[in-house]
């Protein structure tokens, strides 16, 4: 039976390569992937911004779209956390299949840390807040990256500090958000990496946006893209 990919509205629209890479990695490991085309958004932005009614509609849509699948896999810790942790606050009766962030699915369900990837670059991992403190995925992304051939992993000084994105926080408190992002960017680049990666496209959008404005700097690549890369 196929697993369902929940690509997220953000990756679908702005970072399709993260979704394509997720499909490639899973298929390479023999997983049959389906993309239920009725999917849109998990409702996180509305929920976290206080728009409960809109969030409830989107959550109901998610539950309906993914009903019947054995598992859902998503290239976003934040969106997976939304479904797993916050849906019960929207509607305790809402039922969804188990939703996994990609690295959780690879390490915990498939039991794989070496996905056969080749990526000869110095990489720094931005550990996202929702991967650390909601999903508690710990060092799974690091385990996967450590097994990538040719990849050299750099260590930031403050690996568990927020990058300052925070959804609508980024636009409601733009100065604080940008100050946090600048500090995070400095920390990540001091580690001397060519590539910044993460389990969440949203953080990369924010950090990449700051870096682009500044000019130069590292490339921002979703973790799935590194895992999909081969020789």
């Amino acid at each position: 039976m196929a697993i369902a990919l929940f690509v997220t509205c953000l990756a679908d629209t702005l970072f399709p390569r993260a979704g394509i890479a997720t499909v490639q990695v899973l298929e390479r490991l023999g997983v049959e992937v389906d993309f239920p085309s009725a999917q849109t958004c998990c409702g996180q932005m509305h929920f976290n911004s206080g728009y409960r009614r809109e969030a409830a509609q989107l959550a109901a849509g998610f539950a309906e779209t993914f009903a019947g699948y054995e598992a859902v896999v998503s290239p976003s810790a934040s969106c997976a956390a939304m479904v797993r942790h916050h849906y019960r606050r929207i509607d305790p009766d809402l039922v969804t299949p188990p939703v996994y962030e990609l690295t959780e699915y690879l390490v915990d369900v498939l039991g794989v840390t070496d996905v056969g990837a080749y990526f000869p670059h110095r990489v720094v991992l931005h550990q996202t807040c929702h991967s650390l403190r909601l999903l508690r995925i710990g060092d799974r992304p690091r385990q996967l990256l450590a097994a990538v051939t040719g990849l050299e992993l750099a260590d930031p000084t403050h690996p568990d500090q927020c990058c300052g994105f925070g959804g609508t926080f980024a636009v409601k408190n733009p100065d604080t958000s940008a100050a946090m992002g600048t500090d995070k960017l400095n920390d990540l680049t001091t580690a001397g990496a060519e590539v910044v990666t993460s389990t969440d496209a949203s953080c990369l959008m924010h950090l990449g946006g700051l870096a682009a404005r500044r000019g130069g700097g590292p490339r921002f690549v979703h973790l799935a893209e590194i895992l999909a890369a081969t020789r």
Binding site: D12, F15, N48, H86, C162
Partner: protein
Amino acid sequence: MTTPTFLGMPPFPVTARAALSDGQLRRNLAGATATIRDRRARSVAELDDWEALRAAGAALKDDVLVRLPELLAQLEANVSAAGGVVHWARDAAEANAIVTAIAESHGVAEIVKVKSMATQEIELNAALERSGIDVWETDLAEMIVQLGHDLPSHILVPAIHRNRSEIRDIFVREMGRVGRPAPAGITDQPAELAEAARLHLREKFLRARMAVSGGNFAIAETGSVAVVESEGNGRMCLTLPDVLVTVLGIEKLLPAWTDLEVFMQLLPRSSTAERMNPYTSIWTGVTPGDGPQEFHLILLDNGRTDTLIDPVGRQALRCIRCSACLNVCPIYERTGGTAYGSPYPGPIGAILTPQLRGIHRRPVDEQTASLPFASSLCGACFDACPVRIDIPEVLVHLRAKVVDQPGHRAERATMAAAAAVLRSPKRLAAVQALGGVTAGRARRLRLRGPGWIGGWFRDRDLVPPARMPFRRWWKERSR
């Protein structure tokens, strides 16, 4: 001495912006919070049963909140039986009036104060000054704030935004105006600053006939009140004057003496990162011939029962004012505490202040309404909280309350439009197609505009919408 207040401050994004541009403040805060964060992590890691302690602390406080009327009555009976006088204050004005009346009944012209969040909350100092009574903060950091005509910016370390050379300047400039001047030639060495404070305060301790304190805990079973501190200046106030007045939030209760055991482990490690705090003072009513001979306990509501009615928000009343959430908060670290416009800054302030100001009963002002949004929801505060307050959960809950208030028309329209698109895969695909065409071959977007657009693009670019969104890629691949 005039005390500034938080009244009339602009919303958080505005105050934060000003704070962010203060390089000295950013350096002071980054250094101080990083130090205390690391120390707390080490001190907590020493205990194998930290998670069990947190759960016990949360459960004990939840029990108190459920049984509050019964426990308060028990506390009142036991304090009265031990020779204390219990007063009930619905709000700040009532509490301030009670303290003022007690001072006036004794003809007292000056009061020494133990560091206390409850009295900051009710702005007692300003109220006493309006009645012509001098009030002296005796906690070192509170004294620095008071002498500097400043506002507190941290629960535990209210002068955290000051470095020692700023403190030296404040001492030199201000001490002589209100008492013993700073010694001539004083430098910014911590020992010299502490000595100047000691000499300055000693005069006030020996002269004062009345003291005001808050309380960390009150034990219903025995009628005892506890103050936990580091300097011993609190104990001076609690033991030297004839009259002692304690202002206590009604949620500070613990049912039994033995419950203190849990909190005396949780609080010091979470706040100062110490295994044990240096001074713990516990007293029960009055003791003839020893210490204050008159003890008043003012039980303060000031929005607490309004907070208690909300099933999600009420967990904020578990708070033991340790400051761990401030120290780990990446927003607090960059903006400092004054930006929050309340003596309760940081994550706990962002959920406590709006509730104490009545958000569950009526619309709140713009500044108060901005507080629940002063968070990236990173979750570091919840992990650090010794009584397991799920601060992100309450923040999001309060955001929904704010959004339901009148106003926010532009934002509401934006969010409704976004929801309309996101509810329908067809509309989402249409918007993606439009975005892809509009962006053309641009490698990055750099827009100008009002509101959220301006907010994003002030410091950031944006990747353009993909010319081949994922859903189209999938569709073409499946053909």
